[in-house]
Subunit: 417 residues, 2 copies
């Protein structure tokens, strides 16, 4: 086998990105529909490839959860195709100009949305991410280089083979989508140096991977470390809403990054709210780490430690703290925030307005469940990821986060005096 | 002297950034006006400090140009204050919400503009940048860490002392603005590792510095490498406009990054346009590097080499190339672009529309001089820099490039089903 050359792949992706940027919305949608169809009609080959990955994964002793994420079935393949068809329905952000201003000398100045160019995705062994990431990058006019977990390599190569066939049929540069065939870890180091050709790296996966990419990349990185989401029950809260939001945000999908991890309660509402919360949390067997002041309200809680306020439990588990004042809640959030999502429950407009201004996490909510902190729920359509760093994109990222804006100037011979 | 601790300074800036983010526009403007006044009233001390820098610079053998950029006079100090007063007049981007959409479940979703947090600027020995960068960061609600060229250290410390006095008087955390007192180069390496506290690094200066920062930073970097701006004279150009734009873009300020470096001419208009261009360029003593096909039109041109098409002359010097077709012009620009500014001169709407869609440099112009590629000229107000990398900001950067957007969700007790 010829040795894989990362720089070459990136260079070809860069050339292909110019083709991708020029496709019309119609061409992109036709392409995506054809890809969705091809994945279904080639499901047999894809499943055969996936069986190799599964067999190797079992030999390697992967956990049940990992094997499940790796597994493709006919149902899952058709879900994958449906996800691509969903992307067809999204508005194409490319080419839009928001407004043209007229300068005193008569030139018109505007900003036009354009693709970023070449996007590299580094993620876990989840073949469905391969298909969806490719589709989102195509729809936003970008070329994409995919580096999924090595355990999914056969599945990913089968999927990209399917995409390449469709691109070939439609006479479009195949290098718009590439899967890195080399599963060696050092390929990632090579990838992170291609700053002349790759415009953005999106790592998805464990904190270790994301830190590694951040520390070694010469290319801009969009990061999502963790979600330590706070729920603050203000003294002016409607306790019924408060309990409903607590239960939904904590228990509906505790493994999600937008689940609550810490509950802050204003001391003036403790007696009124906490008994209801205790009952509700008990119903869902939520393990509680409570502060000294609230501990006695729970029958089985542990005393919360400093680590509990930093913890992303991702389980039916929560830290609880009573705060003396609104300001103490703000200070606690500012100290422990992961810049993901924070919620205030209060009927008092001053408190809610201040909360929105004072908390600068990527999603700040009033009287709503943190579970809405998701691209689909916020109206962005399919989500390519969520950023908890402030540059370029902050919060759930939809298609437009895969684009940027250039200036356009329309003149009639003007020169600068 | 106590050893300087970079991590400490960054940590204090992070804490101060929360204060900066909460200042109202009125407070920020009052502060900036007071700073402008203080710089003028303390001009004597500032000039004494500057004299130390100038003396040391002369001993060190700095060039006349560098000494001139370093020099502060009463006139220059009052210009600095005027630049700050100009920033007072700019619209505050912080806190604005563009539109709130209503989701089917009744939650309202919008995006609110917020400061980035802590910005680090690394730049040359130009004390006026110290004052202006600090003012732009304050106006956009950020804290800022300044690292100017070591040759300007006394001037910069005198300026920041002046700023700190004003902040103290107004009871605002002084750590909103910091000048790194340690002039050792390895402080930059330490700075580039503070990704937990610093949100953005903006290097300004030579290509070497920018590459160094890009390669070593764990913090997002906004880059501006160089400006190889292209002027394409289409076959359908109005030659009178074409000549005026060429002369203005090349000769008005050849040392600027938005000056033209390469002239591309469609072969069908060569006979009509080139004689006029030759005369005009001769008048400004512009040195010409011409392609084989155009060489004979010039009396003194040299044959252009491959390097000439990559060159950023920053002088009265230009590369000239005749292209067979519109597409060849596009291909040339795509190959040699620095993603700064490209201009087409044409009266044909199909050509100009295609040019705007097909060229993805940060500023793309039709029938206008590249010298408009500047924050002030484009209507952004004072410019903090210009980005030729696509993430976060692309092209001239005004105040809003120092901000980002968070999601806000306004509910009335909604939970996710």
């Amino acid at each position: 086998m010829k040795k894989f050359n990362m720089a070459n792949m990136a260079q070809q992706a860069k050339i292909a990105s110019r083709v991708a940027a020029q496709l019309t919305t119609g061409q992109k949608n036709t392409l995506l529909n054809a890809i969705a169809k091809a994945i279904e009609s080639q499901s047999e080959q894809i499943i055969i490839a996936n069986e190799k990955d599964i067999a190797a994964g079992k030999d390697k002793g992967l956990s049940e959860a990992m094997l499940d994420r790796l597994l493709l079935t006919n149902k899952r393949i058709s879900d994958m195709s449906d996800a691509i068809r969903e992307i067809v329905t999204l508005t194409d952000p490319v080419g839009g100009v928001n407004n043209l201003i007229l300068r005193p000398n008569g030139i018109q100045v505007g900003k036009m949305r354009i693709p970023l160019g070449v996007i590299a995705m580094i993620y876990e062994a989840r073949p469905n991410v391969t298909a969806e990431a490719a589709a989102l990058c195509i729809k936003s006019g970008n070329a994409v280089i995919l580096r999924g977990g090595s355990e999914a390599i056969h599945s990913n190569l089968a999927l990209v083979d399917c995409l390449h066939r469709v691109l070939k049929e439609q006479g479009i540069d195949e290098n718009i989508v590439a899967v890195i065939p080399d599963t060696n870890r050092d390929v990632i180091d090579q990838l992170l140096k291609q700053r002349e050709t790759i415009d953005l790296v999106i790592p998805r996966g464990g904190e270790g991977l994301i830190r590694y990419v951040t520390e070694h990349s010469q290319i801009p990185v969009i990061q999502h470390f963790k979600g330590v989401c706070h729920l603050y029950i203000d003294k002016f809260a409607d306790v019924k809403k408060a309990v409903a939001i607590l239960v939904n945000g904590k228990t509906q999908k505790p493994s999600a990054c937008n689940a609550f991890e810490t509950l802050l309660i204003h001391q003036d509402i403790v007696e009124h709210f906490l008994p209801l919360a205790v009952t509700a949390l008990k119903e869902f067997d939520v393990k509680v780490h409570a502060c000294q002041q609230s501990l006695s309200h729970f029958s089985q809680a542990q005393l919360a430690t400093e680590e509990d306020y930093h913890a992303e439990y991702l389980a039916q588990e929560i830290a609880v703290k009573v705060v003396d004042s609104y300001q103490m809640a703000i200070d606690h959030i500012n100290e422990y925030t992961s810049d993901h999502t924070e919620v205030i429950v209060s009927q008092d407009t001053s408190r809610t307005q201040n909360f929105i201004r004072q908390i600068n996490s990527s999603v700040v909510m009033v009287n709503a469940s943190s579970r809405f902190s998701d691209g689909g729920q916020l109206g962005l359509g399919s989500e390519i990821g969520i950023s908890t760093s402030k540059l370029h994109a902050y919060g759930p990222m939809g298609l437009s986060a895969l684009t940027t804006e250039k200036f356009i100037v329309l003149g009639d011979g003007q020169v600068r005096s």
